[in-house]
Symmetry: C2
Subunit: 422 residues, 2 copies
Amino acid sequence: MKLSACLNQQSPEGGEKSCLNSELWHACAGPLVSLPSVGSHVVYFPQGHSEQVAVSTNKEVDAEMPNYQSLPAQLICQLHNVTMHADMETDEVYAQMTLQPLNAQEQKEISFHPADLGAASKQPTIYFCKTLTASDTSTHGGFSVPRRAAEKVFPPLDFSQQPPAQELVARDLHNNEWKFRHIFRGQPKRHLLTTGWSVFVSAKRLVAGDSVLFIWYNTFSRTLCKILESGRLTWFVYALIRNDKNQLLLGIRRANRPQTVMPSSVLSSDSMHHGLFAAAAHAAATYSRYTIFYNPRASPSEFVIPLAKYIKAVHHTRVSVGMRFRMLFETEESSVRRYMGTITGISDSDPARWLNSHWRSVKVGWDESTAGERQPRVSLWEIEPLTTFPMYPSPFPLRLKRPWPSGLPSYSGMKADEMGLN
Amino acid sequence: MKLSACLNQQSPEGGEKSCLNSELWHACAGPLVSLPSVGSHVVYFPQGHSEQVAVSTNKEVDAEMPNYQSLPAQLICQLHNVTMHADMETDEVYAQMTLQPLNAQEQKEISFHPADLGAASKQPTIYFCKTLTASDTSTHGGFSVPRRAAEKVFPPLDFSQQPPAQELVARDLHNNEWKFRHIFRGQPKRHLLTTGWSVFVSAKRLVAGDSVLFIWYNTFSRTLCKILESGRLTWFVYALIRNDKNQLLLGIRRANRPQTVMPSSVLSSDSMHHGLFAAAAHAAATYSRYTIFYNPRASPSEFVIPLAKYIKAVHHTRVSVGMRFRMLFETEESSVRRYMGTITGISDSDPARWLNSHWRSVKVGWDESTAGERQPRVSLWEIEPLTTFPMYPSPFPLRLKRPWPSGLPSYSGMKADEMGLN
DNA sequence: GTGTCGGCCGTCTGCCGACAA
DNA sequence: TTGTCGGCAGACGGCCGACAC
């Protein structure tokens, strides 16, 4: 593996190294992934970070790992920088974040803005995602484009030609160009990518079950999307605004194969766990910056959470055993659906190591029988309790000194001591 | 990348996971690489380990990395386990070592055995290594086997056939089978691998400049090698003992391309350095076992050294500025040659972080003009001073309390306090 | 609407000795 | 002794519509 392309979240267009498109990154990362904004305050969970390392190295943290006494279960930090990356060899997306723990004085001076809540990731509107079939990846033929997808995302064909065909140029996460012959033929008629497709499949080492996604993108797309969302759309409305063939992006998402990542031959998994704890502990002790990687498709849960989202979920939401809730999950087609469940317990997930951590403090049972796929423990900020009023007093120890002021959710300008942070 | 095959050094044959051949591993690692024996005492250098991580992540250790006060510049350890591995995707070889720092009492009780000196790696005798040419890796043809190589390593052909040909079966580091058609044809006659060769080249992603090596191996090979080394050999002597076609092994060595390894997307390089220091410091504080990876082709120098070799080089060899020395290097053809140089200085390479470390304490100048390829700093145990008697008193601070007893190199049974270890 | 297949053509793989370094 | 090439034959890549689900 080699150094990846990168993009600072704040400058999606300019800069000589800004070859990584933010919308494409988010499309590859999936609809549930959101990155906190640069400059905002966040909560970092060493426990969740450790979970990602455990999954990536395929090895649980050693039971004999010492407690890092100086490292609290959660660190309140300012997020100084976020860059999006993609592995040069696998196209795996990940983010690099520079965090700086706040000292006591800085924590007192925190003021919140609603934006800090961390809105759901903006998935590009003009895009499609298709899971590759055996025929798509076979050397025998090309790629069968779903009709609606082609009409929505690809530049319109000139139907006066027989057969209608054009050359598509799409750019991947590394800004590499891929050219495809797009043709509309067959009986019944269908959209196909022929010449160029097999080169792409073999270069990216795609297999049946992996997904490919195309985005139509330009700098006005956000504005245009809002306009388009406001009314009914026909394919020629899309076609009218898609006159620049060079604005096509494509990304891949590999199927969840068992053991996607590996234990690096560089450092033992134990040393990696030591590394993240020691780096965080050092940063916490000196209030200095440190760097972490977040791999959205490897990590079971986000472990850098907007502070406001955390405060709201932990200190201003009453939950109790027996309460019903919903939680978002990604579908195979890259959209979201809600699964329902019941809270069966509230307790620290690892009281020996991380006392009073809120990480995965909620034990849950899932309604559907395929529940084995979903985590038996979740964090408060991941779920939507179905009652907005407290049915039972929460048995979970809250450090909240004062109740949440009426008139939710306006807490802009609140001070930290009003929220029980210290 | 995925989990690799592994082999415990002590059980090259048995065990369900012992699919990695020790001789093949050493052949791929190169002639200069030796692994200390299991159970022996070694010196571990965090500084050298950090160097390997810096090379692997392509990023130097951060200047703001804190000093790990409790971590000395060298740790005396017992080596509890060594396993050899190969990366599943790249076939890159590496070793996993389990080290346990010795407490003060254990250090006093150390007794040495001559074997602890760490003999040079035993390269298999019946093997060959060839750097691939453009023709070898082209899809246009097969692999041209050097004549002597084929006669030495491959099973003998039946020359009554026209043309003489056979099927070779060779196993790689992961015990995968590769089949090749071996034929002796052309004008002039030569040995070629045809059918099966291109599959191997594309599966291993070999390019011109990479090397491939074949070993003829069986459990008696060490004994046989000694017999063979004692006299002159002709090809039919080899042929007589190579009657089992399934004993053929093959490995690869990739050319040194710039930026071979990459910054993992799992952990920042800073955290990796923290990790190795914290893991070692924790192990040193508690005298508990810890695990490290040694990648012989990534690391500029070995950082786990047999204790006896270290003692001999540091405490019982007089060196001084101006002294001439030789040092072994690997050639492109996988043999060794000596380069000569002059000692230009003796000092700590990083006095701020690692005071009184002997790691790369010798500044050197190299005789040949291509000297830029070689390290400007080496460690005492890497070089052979050309004078066996001290010409000048060493300016380097020796902690030796008593002089080395006369009658080198017999120090079996010596106690640590006689060698200035404490 | 789209996944897979048989048919068909063209390119490239891959085996051969020639030849030269 | 061995690296590269021209020649050649066959395999496979890859484009097409047919057909079924």
